[in-house]
């Protein structure tokens, strides 16, 4: 296991190198010019060229890529073209809101979706199953921003229970912190809950038809231990896989959710950077997201061994 873990960690290096090359190349060929954005509407072409030169954007691809890679290897993600702040500082400022939002969304989704999927499988074909599946279809097909607006209208604007927007860091108190994240977490969780509930249901249906479940029931076990101890654990591998793959969904959804609720997270940082062509920030954030995704997949692979002892590395 230890050797497998080490091998996987080492394998992230070439993966990240490919990602770095891909991101850099994509931005290089993408239309747009940060110098033109900086220079503003009234700038002359000469001024734009001067700014481009001062930013080093007029250098050849290979020189710029080599320079950037050299700094990355030394732990320096570069400096934002627009704010003049280190990219690592900007990411550090934004990581808490995004991480908090993703963790809370994950917790909310798992707590809601897994029981929903289990109940739907248990009551297959009955009204409970249909109701849950209707909810799942709605969750899947309703755009994130629509869910966000509806929740904000009802719970923030009409009932005034929760704030419309913003983020309070956890060091300013747990409840103020949680209050700002409840609506965004439910907004972002909609699609995730739907996905996990459907997979849980499908996986549970498969497991519930197995001989050992019939045996468990035959020996007099109650439905709750049958469902949640025997069946769910054996249905967990596909669920864990989907939870892992769904992190990409969360990252994509966070961009929209953070915009709707004005949360100063990495999603908004990415969008702002893309619109302005702030290359060092885009590259830094994409690298970080890729790294997180690789790590999540590694964690998922390791979790398989917990739920299914037959899996060995």
């Amino acid at each position: 296991m230890g050797i497998y873990f080490l091998r996987r960690v080492l394998a992230t290096i070439p993966v990240m190198a490919v990602v770095a090359l891909f991101v850099f190349s994509l931005l290089y060929i993408a239309p747009g010019d940060p110098a033109a954005v900086i220079a503003g509407d009234q700038a002359s072409p000469e001024q734009i060229a001067h700014i481009r030169a001062s930013l080093g954007l007029d250098r050849p691809f290979i020189v710029r890529f080599g320079d950037w890679l050299w700094h990355i290897v030394h732990g320096d993600l570069g400096t934002s073209i627009f704010t003049n702040l280190p990219v690592s500082h900007m990411i550090a400022q934004r990581i808490e809101p995004t991480l908090s939002l993703m963790i809370l969304t994950l917790v909310v989704s798992l707590v809601i979706a897994i029981p929903m999927g289990v109940v739907a499988a248990w009551k297959q074909g009955k009204w409970q199953d249909r109701l849950i599946m209707v909810f799942a279809v709605l969750g899947f097909s309703t755009p994130v921003f629509v869910i966000g607006y509806v929740l904000a209208f009802v719970f923030a604007l009409q009932l005034r229970w929760l704030p419309v927007q913003g983020f309070v860091p956890i060091e300013q108190g747990f409840w103020p912190f949680l209050r700002t994240l409840i609506l965004p977490a439910f907004t972002l969780g909609g699609i995730y809950i739907a996905l996990i509930a459907r997979i849980t249901r499908a996986s549970m249906l498969d497991v519930l038809s197995q001989d050992y479940v019939r045996t468990a029931r035959a020996k007099g076990l109650g439905e709750r231990p049958v469902l949640f101890v025997h069946a769910l654990k054996n249905a967990a591998v596909p669920i864990v896989t989907v939870v892992g793959l769904g992190v990409a969904l969360l990252i994509g959804g966070a961009v929209v959710t953070e915009s709707v609720f004005a949360i100063p997270g990495l999603g908004r940082l990415t969008v702002d950077a893309i619109l302005r062509r702030d290359y060092p920030v885009i590259q830094g954030v994409v690298l970080l997201f890729s790294f997180v995704y690789v790590l999540v997949n590694l964690a998922i692979d390791l979790l398989y061994t917990v739920f299914d002892p037959r899996i060995r590395y």
Binding site: P31, G32, D33, A36, V37, I38, A39, G40, D41, Q42, A43, S44, P45, E46, Q47, I48, H50, I51, S54, S80, F82, T83, N84, L85, M90, Q93, R94, Y149, A152, F153, A156, L157, R160, P163, V164, Q165, G166, S259, V260, F261, A262, P264, R268, L269, V271, D272, I274, L275, R276, R277
Partner: protein, 528 residues
């Protein structure tokens, strides 16, 4: 009841009663403001966005400042003297001016700051071209010696559009004008709290106790800039619906640019006030590339001018709220002293599609593609692009509608390549009305060919007229020159103004003192 219990109970009751008042007091000392856009930096010379200018006006001060009548007034200066030949300008700083780092503002700081500004700003470059010397005579006095008169010098030093002639310490002003400053030290009424800055989310300004406001009442960039808040917190809310909800729920106090679509909703709220933000509004622009066919032929530019219908453009931008727009057969901002409609018949009256088609035939237009760049991420550019595409198709142009984002338009419009090789024929944008009050800040009206703004119109006769305007000694002769410029620019079709439109601002009922201006004026704003 025991004495101790009684005291404890009384204290608790008193505390609970006092708490809301304390909270209200704290609330009244902080203004929460939603700016038009993210604040990407705070360099008033390097940063050209309006949002940078707006924040800079809090942190930095200027030597002169324009008021609501567009007249320059001394701000950091006590006053100025001019020699009879107009070649020597002497300035003296007010006593007691301090930077946020506690050091005194000196004449050499002003000289260095103006030097950096002149390298970047359009009007600054005109001054630099005439500059003989700029020197500090003592700690508070400095002079500008010119080789040729420049009567608009005070207007240039007072101007409110980017790049801002803001004063900063000499050591900071010595930064390359094409590189961003790293220390945000000004002498304005608020200090920038860099440690609380989260770009894209929040920027905080704290009151500068060392600021010495002028005795006159505040009037735009002129007069006493008295701040009634300890902190002004800018909260960047990118989603307009969220900003509207935050204003309604009282989470923010003032929203600089509500979408016209959301204004009816805001007006329904008893707690929210809505009004026009900037009396100088904005001017829509259809810009053609004069370097390449078809618009290197004035007949085809005129054909497009004949079918461009300003009401259509304006409704595409602001919707059905007719209070938000005006037609303007002019290159000058309506309602300002130099406004003229001389030669504007080309843009007013019935649109002439038959005449346009005739011109297309006369000019030998063979159906070449007209590459039109449309930034679809901005409603102002998207709306204009849609209208242009429609009327051009009806007139017989073969339009290649390139839907993209503003970042791409910003880069591609700077390319002088042929349209078929990555260049362009048309793009749309807009200028703030304050940038169109005369030819000095209005870069779009200049026709200096390769040195002109994107589109590169070349017409030495119009440039000579603009030169005459710069030299005009009084308002009457300025008006004469502007009429000539307007008529000639309409005939040459330097660009097509697509109309004049306002924007709204909205604020909470408890906030008072908000005025209409081209930028948010924070001085004299109070909160109950």
């Amino acid at each position: 009841m025991r004495r101790r219990d009684f005291l404890a109970t009384s204290l608790a009751a008193a505390t609970s009663l006092a708490a809301p008042a304390i909270a209200r007091g704290a609330e009244a000392r902080v203004l929460r403001f939603v700016p038009q856009a993210n604040l990407p930096n705070l360099d008033p010379v390097w940063g050209t966005q309006y949002v940078v200018r707006n924040a800079s006006l809090l942190v930095f001060d200027t030597l002169f400042g324009i008021d609501a009548s567009l007249t320059p007034h001394p701000q950091m200066c006590e006053g100025s003297e001019t020699s009879d030949d107009g070649l020597v300008w002497r300035f003296r700083l007010r006593p007691g001016l301090k930077f946020h780092d506690g050091t005194q503002v000196l004449a050499r700081d002003a000289v260095a700051s103006l030097g950096r500004w002149m390298a970047r700003d359009t009007m600054g470059q005109l001054i630099r071209a005439r500059l003989d010397a700029m020197t500090a005579s003592d700690d508070r006095a400095f002079e500008i010696r010119l080789k040729a008169p420049f009567p608009k010098l005070l207007f240039a030093l007072a101007k409110g559009n980017p790049n801002l002639p803001a004063i900063m310490p000499e050591r900071i002003a010595q930064t390359d004008p094409f590189k961003q400053i790293s220390d945000i030290i000004g002498s304005g009424p608020m200090t920038f709290q860099k440690d609380e800055w989260v770009p894209g989310s929040r920027a905080v300004f704290a009151r500068f106790d060392g600021y010495a406001p002028r005795n006159e009442p505040g009037n735009w960039m002129a007069g006493g800039k008295r701040i009634h808040f300890e902190r002004i917190e800018w909260q960047i809310i990118p989603d307009p619906a969220t900003a509207a909800a935050a204003l309604q729920s009282g989470e923010v106090d003032w929203w600089e640019t509500p979408l016209p679509d959301l204004v009816p909703l805001l007006r329904q709220s008893e707690d929210v006030r809505v009004d026009i933000a900037d009396p100088l509004g904005n001017v829509g622009i259809l810009r053609m590339n004069h370097l390449y066919p078809p618009f290197n032929d004035v007949r085809l530019r005129r054909a497009l001018q004949m079918v461009a219908n300003q009401p259509d453009y304006m409704r595409a931008i602001v919707g059905n709220d007719d209070a938000l727009w005006k037609t303007m057969p002019s290159f000058i901002t309506p309602g300002t002293p130099l406004y003229t409609e001389a030669g504007g018949e080309a843009l007013s009256g019935k649109r002439d599609f038959a005449g346009a088609k005739k011109l297309l035939v006369e000019a030998g237009y063979g159906g070449e593609k007209v590459v039109m760049l449309v930034a679809t991420d901005l409603i102002i550019t998207k709306g204009q692009g849609d209208v242009s595409a429609d009327v051009m198709a009806k007139a017989g142009f073969n339009v290649d509608y390139v839907a993209t984002d503003w970042g791409t338009v910003g880069a591609r419009r700077a390319k002088k390549d042929p349209p078929s090789q990555g260049g362009w024929n048309i793009f749309h944008t807009w200028l703030a009305g304050v940038d169109c009050i005369n030819p000095a800040p209005n870069i779009a009206i200049h026709t200096t060919g390769p040195k002109a703004w994107f589109g590169w119109p070349d017409n030495p006769a119009i440039e000579a007229m603009i030169g005459d305007w710069y030299a005009a000694p009084d308002l009457a002769s300025e008006k004469q020159q502007i009429e000539k410029i307007n008529r000639a620019s309409m005939e040459f079709v330097t660009f097509i103004p697509t109309g004049f439109f306002y924007g709204y601002q909205a604020w909470r009922r408890e906030v008072g003192g908000i005025v209409k201006a081209p930028f948010p004026v924070f001085w004299d704003v109070k909160k109950a």
